[in-house]
Symmetry: C5
């Protein structure tokens, strides 16, 4: 489970956690209005300044963290508070929304499903990838900062902008921010679906015959659900705040859309809570199934022993060496004509009697 | 368990999820006031327009989803917001109420009990059928959209309108909406009754002698209760909102009726919570009963073994081949006159002693 | 557990659930002021009208439900809303309070302890009897409707009125309502006391030696506590509402008395929660005690087997038929003078060694 | 566990529960101001009247309940509402605060630790003594009513007044009330300390080797924690109310002191909740430890049996009576020169093989 | 677990708990503004007075408690309320914030990780060190009181002041207070990280093969989490209060910083809750793993016994002494040419049959 970032206790606030060999991040700008749309990769953060003054929407997408110069440059260009820059740079932080004059900081967490693993891996490693996405929303611009370039789920939104599909080009930066947040929240559903399939296949496995890896798998699902829960709860609160209280930077129509987004977050939470209960119930069933199966084995084994022990006793009787010649009472059976067959009969009678008794009581 | 609907992450809002080979839905209109009542099946959604302008109440009931043209036509006719249409079309959504100018969107969830299954099926499949019903309430019209035509529980309300029973014909569209929501909420009670019967028969089964399928059945009931809970909680909140805050579209008398409806939802929740606790208690008892029964079996088997093992030892003693002729101390018993009967007596004494001991301690 | 009443889904609101062969209920009127007091049984509901206009307090007590004419007549006489009449007639409903113009509807639930049962019955059947009591409080009258005539706990209040004990005759109808509600809430205490005795005797039973019926009894107590909880929680909310917000029909002094009543309801809830925790703890102890006792049995049995199995092995050794004449190494012991006693000594040494070992480790 | 007091259902409010042979309670009055201080035992309640009119603080402490005349007299002297007198007389009540004109009723619960018991008693009986203390606070007087004379924890406050230690003599009756309540709340800490020691010694006991009484002791601690919780929660609410909302009878400085008192109550609750969790964890560990120990025993016993059973089989082989003379294949071993030693070797090999196998797998 | 401090019940408020042989605490003063900075150790508390009147920020850090004279002197110098002094001196108290005229009292709890212990110690002793830090914030001064001199985590802040790093020298005393509180809250993270590593190594241990100390270790982690939770919850409430409501002594910019601090506290709580759930899940897995392993052992042992018992029976048969000469039916096998090999064949057949049967069912 990913741990929250923290500064060494006692370090001054507003410090940026820079990684030594970090490469400069990928900087991508889209500048669009209803009529035209420009998409460009920038190598120097200072090139951003040219786009910020225009009335068109400028979306600056930064992919990759840890490069101190770039981060400081961004802080200057967008006039960010030291704490805001710290929240963006030192990931992960708890999702939240914070209002600054002329700016809105939104910290969100994006969940992606890692590509399918082999069955044995799945038992030990989580399939969840969690990444912080920070938004700085201004009047005409949106700055988004992602941790890594490889899990980029914003591609579809970029296509919509370039192709002019939907109404995205007719709106301001606030609508763009909504679209991206919506993408992040909707990203929880495929993850939940994968977990749901895992739970269902575990249910079958548990009821039919759990193996030793089942336990580790249930525990892994529990961990994943805890991770999801820790991530979605503050995002729901964040959306409730945005859609209810609004902000001067959010148009009233975008607030309606954010309300829809909030509904989706509530659905995610509902589903997580249900999965948690199902997993707890699964654990009960697993324990019961393992113990039932063990009991069946022990019962069968014990029944076999219990049948043979009296028989062995009977055989032991006629293995005694009492001297038949010393007295007519001493094991006269040994000299009877039907002695040996009779002994077998006695043993068969005992065995079949016990088998019948056990059978009737369903002990097999 | 049915999962919430979700768009692929990154898709634009307001998209309708159309199914390829979907047939046009069944469109049924009832137009009535206190004096007259018309009931008609429409083939073209555009025919609805004629009824909307009149002062009489027009109830348009749409049964079946996935046909894109019809849904778009409805969106146009009733001037629905793109997100509202999405909520109607992409099912299931979380129950909620949303106010638009001149309209009220209500998303409800209808629970129906599937027809009786065989006992073995019941263990594996839920008997619950869940369907979303969306309401668009206007001043003089009510649009209801159901997912499928076959589970139509609104028939009784239609009868009441046609036959003029009750006061339904004397009221506006808001009262009609209440009647239908009331039908949906009351539909939870027969389902709870069926679950209650299942729980009671499981209680007997568990206390008398649980079989291997009991566990799967308890788990199934838990799943069903989770499904019901996920469905009724947001509907209760929705009714609380409607009956407390009202809306310009809801008359004050209908608000009183909705308060009654809210009370019923609260009763449903009370009952679900109790059933959940009972099921948890049942699980405890099941585990304890299984283990008790197993213990009884093992105890009886072990008692049998324990009685025969000392006897076999005694028989083993007199099976030893010490040479009585080598010394008078070597197994003189073998040559005694009463040797063999005495050996039997010893064994009987041991056996009866142990049986008495075990009996007194209730180990049988 | 008694289920809430519900109408078939789709039936119109305000329907009264009439039982076919229901006899007319027992109608009893008390009309009193500080000076005089009249007590009468009425056969015709219309006779009530004469008492309602006077300034004296009129308490109309109806015992028995299901007789449609009487109920309709009462609805007319007291001008009850259709939903109010439904709440009175279709029992049980969730306890609640509802304000109508000039009237206050209070739905309460009365718990009575059924007479003592035999010990074996108690394990299977609840001793609780639950009955709905509805109050319609007007300025000068109080209508109370009970489900059945036989569990009448209001007798003591009637005595107080007739004998003029206490201050009841000096007050209005609101004080009478308080007295009756107080009687209902105080009725929970003897029930809790009975449950407390059950729990305490179960505690002793569980720690000393639980039998097979203990489990069913714990489950029965849990059910009863759930029933009580479902009944008292809404009544506490109801009393909080009445004592805090008041109503034009409740004098300020009666509100003080209702606050006292609220305190009692809070005490009931405190006690129920504690009993629930005790019962859960009891379940843990039961499971542990059963398993401990079983373990003791198995341990003793296994110890006995374990002692005799090595002895049987020794006896088996000297039961082997190696030919002493073929070699001096072949079981020379058989021909020793002290052979047999030595074999016994060996076996006794093994047995006493094992017994000592087991004894020291407290395995007996 | 002590049950709340209740009147028989249907009895009129304001009844005092008098005990038949109750002796008159001990009445003690302290009348002081900064200059002087009088302490006296009174035999007649009416003597109190003389002290009430003065400007000095009069603390009337009543120890002992059940004497009807005294209680009625107190009711008259202090002009108590019937319900207030009932709350004082019929103990225990739920802790609460109630405002009357010119008076404040505070019902508190005092916990005392009973003197040290023997170890075996502690398992079965609670060491907690709970007593209700009621306060009637007026402008210049304070009436305190305790249940019994023997557990008097107010002695130290009395000393402080007589010796003029602290600032108590410089304040009004409200400060005195605070001092006494503070004494009551602080009285929870030694009790918690005793429980903490019990829990810690149980932790050691459970991890080293739990005996049969451990379970009863854990259950007893749970009961005690439930008792404490039931008592402290309403007292914390009471203190929150007093310190936040105040009352005309409480000076603003006393409110600051009560806030401190509230903090202590919150500390008590924190601690109780932690102990509850620790006890639950303890129960888990107990169950696991018992089962681990049992498993060890069974494993050792079964290992012994499992080693000897194959050996007995080998001995059984050479106990067979096949006639070596009938065929050279019939047990020629019996006539070998090294036959018997070889048999021993085989058996030793089997035994040491199994022991090694079991040893390597840590089955001993 | 450390218990809250409490006065003996009945002792007057405002008493300082002095330890007999306590040495005077270490008094350190830093007096700084943007231009200059003085750091000094004081031996006499009265020397503080000289620094308080200046406009520069004076930070007085007291390390060590229990020396009555010093505490009383501090109380006088800073004009502390008796209760405030008590909260500072009698540790630990519950974290809280309290407003006095011209002063703000903040009680915080600092968690430090004790140096690495050996593995076996870690099972029995907590690695957490908890210490109360009290803050008295005035306009131009900050008084901090720590319990002990050896765990001083404020060193890094002192360095920042002396070296003029960060903006600390440009701000007032409120910013200094924030810096120190931030250090305390950030101090929870390394502790959580250590616990997280413990949990992860326990997860591996539990899934691979739990030893007897695992249980004690899980219990120890639970205790530590309870300790952390008890400490961080009131501190989060405290920070919420400070950052939301502010105080005349806190500048608006510091309030922004405290909001950041609050976010960190929320992250700590999130993490603790997740660890608690993981530990509970771990406990389940531990119990299941122990029981699984035990079951495997018992199964293998029982399988071995079960195979040999029928074989021993066969050997027993041919150990019987029926006289073949008395009748041709009496054990003619003994005289057969292939008798002994046949007996072996029978036994091998039985053994291999059973082994196959058990193998197929995965009972090995």
């Amino acid at each position: 489970m990913r741990r929250y970032y923290y500064d060494p206790p006692g370090s001054p606030p507003g410090m940026i956690h820079a990684r030594e060999q970090a490469l400069p991040p990928r900087l991508q700008i889209m500048d669009y209005n209803a009529q035209r749309c420009v998409q460009k990769f920038l190598s120097d953060p200072q090139d951003i300044r040219g786009y910020l003054d225009t009335q068109s929407v400028s979306w600056i997408d930064v992919q990759g963290l840890g490069h101190a110069q770039t981060l400081t440059a961004l802080g200057e260009i967008f006039q960010l508070h030291a704490l805001t820059l710290e929240d963006i740079a030192n990931v992960p932080q708890r999702p939240k929304v914070e209002e600054a004059p002329h700016q809105l900081l939104i910290v969100a967490q994006m969940i992606t499903l890692l590509p399918e693993q082999t069955r044995s891996q799945r038992r030990r490693r989580s399939r969840l990838h969690m990444e912080q996405v920070s938004f700085i929303l201004g009047r005409h611009y949106l700055l988004t900062v992602q941790e890594e370039p490889q899990f980029d789920t914003f591609e579809s939104v970029r296509d919509r902008i370039i192709q002019g599909r939907g109404v995205i080009r007719d709106h301001q930066a606030d609508y763009l921010a909504y679209c991206l947040i919506d993408t992040i929240i909707d990203g929880f559903f495929p993850v939940l679906e994968a977990l749901s399939e895992d739970i269902e296949s575990l249910e079958l496995e548990v009821l039919r015959g759990p193996g030793p890896a089942t336990l580790a798998q249930i525990h892994q699902i529990r961990r994943d659900l805890l991770t999801l829960r820790r991530s979605i709860w503050p995002q729901r609160d964040m959306l409730a705040l945005l859609s209810r209280d609004g902000s001067p930077l959010l148009g009233s129509e975008v607030q309606v859309y954010l309300r829809d987004c909030y509904d989706h977050a509530a659905q995610v939470i509902d589903t997580i809570e249900i999965y948690r209960e199902l997993t707890a119930s699964l654990m009960d069933i697993y324990l019961s199934a393992v113990s039932n199966r063990m009991n069946e084995v022990m019962k069968t084994l014990t029944v076999i022993s219990t049948i043979f022990i009296p028989l062995t006793f009977v055989a032991g009787i006629y293995g005694m060496n009492f001297n038949p010649e010393a007295s007519p009472l001493n094991m006269p059976e040994l000299n009877w004509y039907w002695g040996y067959p009779l002994a077998w009969l006695v043993m068969l009678a005992i065995a079949s009697g016990m088998i019948t008794f056990f059978w009737r009581r369903h002990w097999f």
